[in-house]
């Protein structure tokens, strides 16, 4: 089974397609694996509460249940106090996780762009409404306008009727010519996604509007309607929900905290999914937006490499690792081709920068309107002067928005990565000060 490292401890952060594959591959290769996720269930956003679960999701989740991989749900990483150690919040308590090697499979979040009314209750993400539907929300008889950009619009619009919703319109901001290019590029993608998208396309042809985007959400205490624009035409659609997001941005906070090199918005990795930080691997959306197939291929490579690559970078890579990784490396190459097509197919149109009015909220946590950002020179400047990104989400929403609107890259990730109770930080500080007991609760229940 194992080459050399029967007791190597591996922590995998994120239990979506990349993390599940990484955890199972590393376990199969002989490592002791701990898999953590902030959600109450494994599967990531894509496989959460599947309706019904896809075959591959059911197989991986079943393998996780039957394996000795330790799965910690409801577990959020808040700090990396020293090499080989993470501090997490688990059910409200501090938890230290020690690792020889770490695999980051932190996934992506949706890119939200401000427009008048986007902060109203019942305006939410495309993945956002899907998550609520999978979380038990009954959408029977509800009208849901789906808007924004990317292939998720079609797959979510196709799934919403399963929860009882009507979808009066799907507004994709990309032009028809870009979408045709994307459709042609689907032939590079292995697996079922092309079929699913083509099915969605066939189901929704009359309601699908290319080169169309929301300009205003209406309502007082909640959403009542949305105005859409296509070229020089504007019209208003009554709806109960607006599901709107403009593609994905990777969750890079932990990678940045660990010092991984990030280039053009993505974590730099080598052929074995190793980042530039020692013993830190990365797989899935943080290395490039490419969907579940790419994430699974990269996750398998990362898990095998984390378990089997020798400590000494000059030692030869074992034949066992080469042969086990080969099919995943081939699949990864095909997926990277698709990721490139994806990236070129949904460019954000510049008109979207003109949607927010001076008084439109940009930073939702701190209620910073666009006009307050005038005169600021950078993310950091606006943070210090105007409290941009200083609230609960710590710039996870407005960071991507201001990057698009104003060209400001986000800077300076600092612990804690998520808001935590002060008592947790105090407990962490006390434990850190106690050198005689450096790993007070490394593996709970053991």
């Amino acid at each position: 089974m194992s080459d050399l490292h029967p007791s190597r401890e591996i922590v995998v952060v994120g239990a979506g397609p990349a993390g599940l594959q990484a955890a199972l591959a590393a376990h199969d290769a002989g490592a002791r694996v701990t898999l953590v996720d902030a959600s109450p269930e494994a599967g990531g956003q894509i496989w959460r509460g599947g309706h019904p679960p896809s075959r591959i999701a059911a197989r991986l989740l079943g393998r996780l249940r039957d394996s000795p991989v330790q799965f910690l749900r409801g577990c959020t990483i808040v700090d990396a106090p020293k090499p080989g150690q993470l501090l997490a919040m688990h059910d409200g308590n501090p938890l230290w996780l020690s690792y020889h090697r770490l695999v980051l499979a932190t996934g992506a979040r949706e890119r939200f762009l401000p427009f008048p009314g986007w902060t109203l209750p019942n305006v939410l993400g495309v993945g956002g409404i899907q998550a609520l539907a999978k979380g038990g929300l009954d959408l029977a008889g509800k009208r849901v306008v789906v808007a924004g950009s990317g292939p998720l619009l079609l797959s979510v619009a196709a799934s919403l009727p399963l929860y009882g919703a009507q979808v009066p319109v799907i507004a994709e901001q990309a032009s028809l010519s870009h979408l045709v290019r994307f459709a042609l590029g689907l032939r590079y993608l292995p697996g079922k996604i092309p079929e699913a998208l083509q099915l969605a396309w066939r189901l929704q042809p009359l309601r699908f509007q290319a080169a169309t985007y929301p300009v205003r959400a209406h309502g007082d205490m909640r959403l009542t309607a949305v105005t859409l624009r296509s070229a020089d035409r504007e019209w208003t659609v009554d709806c109960d929900y607006l599901a709107c997001a403009f593609g994905f941005v990777p969750n890079l906070e932990l990678a940045e905290l660990l010092g991984c090199t990030v280039r053009e918005g993505f974590v730099v990795v080598d052929n074995w999914q190793q980042t530039t930080a020692p013993d830190v691997y990365c797989a899935g959306e943080p290395t490039g937006i490419g969907g579940a197939e790419k994430a699974m291929a990269e996750g398998a490579v990362a898990g095998l490499a984390a378990a089997l690559l020798p400590e000494d970078a000059n030692s030869p890579v074992s034949r066992n690792l080469h042969s086990q990784a080969a099919p995943h490396l081939a699949r990864r190459a095909r997926c990277h081709h698709f990721a490139q097509v994806l990236e070129r197919s949904f460019p954000l149109r510049p008109e979207l920068r003109d949607l927010p009015l001076p008084e439109t909220t940009v930073c939702r946590c701190e209620d910073v309107p666009l006009i307050h950002l005038e005169g600021c020179s950078s993310w950091r400047d606006a943070k210090l002067q105007r409290r941009l990104g200083m609230g609960h989400c710590q710039g996870r929403v407005c960071g991507a928005a201001t990057e698009f609107l104003l060209g400001w890259p986000m800077q300076s990730v600092r612990p804690p990565l998520s808001p935590v109770p002060v008592r947790l930080l105090a407990a962490a500080a006390l434990a850190k000060a106690d050198d005689s007991n450096p790993h007070p609760q490394t593996r709970p229940g053991q």
């Binding site: 939200f112 109203l120 956002g128 979380g135 038990g136 205490m221 808001p419």
Partner: protein, 100 residues
């Protein structure tokens, strides 16, 4: 999946499907403004996946819980900020059922 459980949203009993998140329970209770922003704008869930923090509420007495990441359990007591703020404005936080 078809079994339902009872939770309390701002003291009112609500039936939700087993496996529902607390965020869903709040919506099922007919509350879509979960909280108020610093300037008083109504807000509800945005991302549904523990990123945006817009869905936070008090669960079983613990404030600032991301309701989209918490599964309901029978008898769970969920209190939204808007209900608490309304009760507070009337000078009686206990009325909201949000303080024990």
């Amino acid at each position: 999946m078809s079994t339902s459980i009872e939770v309390f949203v701002n003291s009112a009993p609500v039936e939700v499907k087993a496996g529902s998140t607390a965020a869903v329970a709040i919506l099922v209770a007919g509350v879509d403004a979960f909280r108020l922003s610093p300037s008083g704008q109504p807000r509800g869930p945005l991302c549904g996946m523990g990123i945006c923090a817009e869905c936070r509420a008090t669960i079983d007495g613990v404030a600032n819980q991301y309701t989209c990441l918490r599964l309901c359990h029978p008898g769970m007591r969920i209190c939204t900020e808007v209900a608490a703020a309304g009760a507070g404005a009337r000078g009686d936080a206990r009325e909201s059922g949000c303080s024990e």
